[in-house]
Amino acid sequence: MGLPNVSGDLSAEMEVDAFRRLFPLRFYERHLSESIRPDARPLGRARDTTLALGAVASADGSALAKIGSTTMLAAIKMEVMSPSTDSPDEGCIAIDFHMPPICSPIVRPGRPVEAAPVVSKQLSDTILSSGMINLKELSLVSGKAAWMAYLDIYCLDADGALFDAALLSAVAAFSHLQIPIVFLNDDGKIVVVSEEGEGGKLDKEPVNKEKRKLTLRSLPFSLTCILHKNYILADPTAEEESIMELL
């Protein structure tokens, strides 16, 4: 548009990698006109996705999701808390999304990324409004004790489509979640039973007999797309996102 047409003279002589760095928009548009992308995907195809449950052994529920190179690790820890007065038989979910400096060269320690709080908020809106989790299932003793689920998602590699991978890892972590067994103490407090086993001390009545999983009603799913001129690209990489955004 406003750029001089230097690339026309040099394109025959330059190496592909140099051309990709110097004139990224032209590089991509040469591919898009043939309905293909530099990683040989058609415009509408997403990258290969893998999902591993139970990646964090110490957490109550966890999952590792990879969409192409974008990697997200989600883990859930459960804690007992007293529910609020206007919803005494409902638990609570707190969702947080972190982008540590490991994920991308543009993230530096001490300077928070713009994208992190935005994705965090979009994630919690999506999960809470989709009705996937019935908060009443997180209740223990109505009015006195309920579960608080802390979901933390760490981005280990940011290569585009962050929200998709984060949502996938969050839903997978909830599907893997097993609610721990708790006892009701004599003082009226809830005590979480530890894995080492408390042998013959079964004089206290457990509040829930066995580890149970949450029932997930509707699973939210997302696909990020980029609109560039009159092309729609599904599941963009970080390079595509940074170039096409400048249109």
Binding site: A115, P117, K121, E245
Partner: protein
Amino acid sequence: MMEIDRADGRTPNQLRPLACSRNILHRAHGSASWSQGNSLSFFWFWSHGSAGDTKVLAAVYGPKAGTKKNENPEKACIEVIWKPKTGQIGKLEKEYEMILKRTLQSICILTINPNTTTSVIVQVVHDDGALLTCAINAACAALVDAGIPIKHLAVAICCCLAEDGYVILDPTKLEEQLRFGKVNKDLCNTNVFEHSGKFYSIAENQIAQEIDIISRETLGNWDVNGAWKRPFSSHPKVLDLQT
């Protein structure tokens, strides 16, 4: 087609009245205020709890020399700062800033003044639903007032799914919250009245319910044997007819 009833009597496709003023702030290079809704008299404000309008003020400063570190110096840069009415800046404000920045970047001609930054500051004056759309409209009007070169105007409208699955335009805060299933804890316009020896409680957002006046227990919805499906007016008056 079923018509759904909205609390303020609008049809599902009807917007609230819009108002825009520009050049309000004299130090800023461009400024505009945009409001959606009826800002009627003080009495309306008082009796209905929250005023029925969303108002946003936008100011534009720029173009100023220099861009930020991660931005492309070959193009102009837009920076958005969102100031909420109350409270600290949190994730919601960051999300609004990002959405507004991307929208404004797509309408501005960024190649005209490279290596410059234009700052758009958005101040929320009052929030009664459709806040982000009001901000987009205000920011676009402020950019026009400042003379920043733009390709075309940006227009925004807010749609909401009502409880029964119908789409309504330009929702108020109450309509937005009901969709998400959150009970409006600051409910105003409630009343209790007696009729034929029974007591009923009414609120502006739901059907009347019969209550037991001693134990204050809810006994169920009162729909006049199926004839009435809407909320009542919340300030009923008993007329004493004398013949």
